[in-house]
Amino acid sequence: MTASSVLAATSNSGAEIVFWVCATLAVIGAVGMILSKKPVHSALFVALTMINLAILYVALSAPFLGMVQIIVYTGAVMMLFVFVMMIVGVDASDSLIETIKGQRWAAIVLVLGFAAMLIGAIVNGLQGVPDPSLVAANAEYGGNLQGIAKIIFTDYVIAFEVTSALLIVAALGAMLLTHRERHTPKATQEERSKARFLRYAATSELPGNLPPAGTYARHNAIDTPALAPDGSTVPASVPGPLRERGNVRPVDVAAEVEVEEISEGKTVVAPINDEDGEQR
């Protein structure tokens, strides 16, 4: 066994390890995409597949495409999917009702047949082809990126220019499709203020801010209702969910008595001793 064949064997085994690991993970991602109930999990599985495909691109001596795959697909496209899911609602899960009876099983059988046909054709058609190598083509202009640039800017320059038009049209289309026309003019600050005071005149609903939790109370914790000047509590100052759950802290009766005594001039606050006995 010569030194070069040993080197070839080790590099081949390295490529094989990369292929089998990444291919397994990519297929796991694709299966997970189909099987997961929640769309966000599906998106993460697709991101897994796409990262592994990027590694496979690098292994196929296409480092530029590998980087573009990561930046465009996992970075931009999948995050766009996740954004749209956040808007549409992450719990918009699938209905499991089949609109066409037996469609799911028919789909599985058909896809198995389709995959068998594709794989059979590939394995048959590629028998005995020589071992591939892109080293020469990549080295021709100094690197993979330079080689692709040469092809894009000579043979495919018109397609490349059309691509820019396509991207602009896509951006415009997205803006046009998601644009919502405002049918009524936007209320100005003055109008909103007038409406607030008219509501106050009609229903005596206070036009100002509600007191925040803890105003005039002993604590400023969020569950402590504000005290109105007459000593009554303002339930609206505690957030709704806390009120719903009954987590509002009641007014301490002893504290009320204490406040009353202070306002009557009796000093009832006990002196506090420090740890070293010094009185404050």
Binding site: A26, A30, F81, F114, I122, Y156, A174, T178
Partner: protein, 99 residues
């Protein structure tokens, strides 16, 4: 690794994408399955580029990525619009197109 391995992986991923399009009802997941199919074809392009010893296949894969990005933008905008009018992201819902 021979090109056959990569092409078989590409075929498997493409078939899984087809399966997802056929069985899932959520429009966003269907759309992700379409992306999966585009990626699988990209893998085939890159594998064939290596087999043929020139970079044309990689260039085509690059253009496929550009078109896929544009397609995602418009497609998601359409899904958003349908969701706004129908309050649903299911592909079974926009069946009013039939009538």
């Amino acid at each position: 690794m021979s090109t056959t391995h990569y092409l078989v992986l590409s075929a498997i991923l493409f078939s899984l994408g087809v399966l997802g399009v056929l069985v899932r009802r959520n429009a966003i997941i269907v759309f992700m399955c379409v992306e999966m199919m585009l990626n699988a074809s990209n893998l085939a392009f890159v594998a064939f580029a290596q087999q043929n010893g020139n970079l044309n296949g990689q260039t085509i894969a690059f253009f496929v990525m550009v078109v896929a990005a544009a397609e995602v933008v418009v497609g998601l905008a359409i899904i958003m619009t349908i969701y706004r009018t129908r309050r649903s992201a299911s592909v079974d819902e926009p069946n009013l197109l039939k009538y």
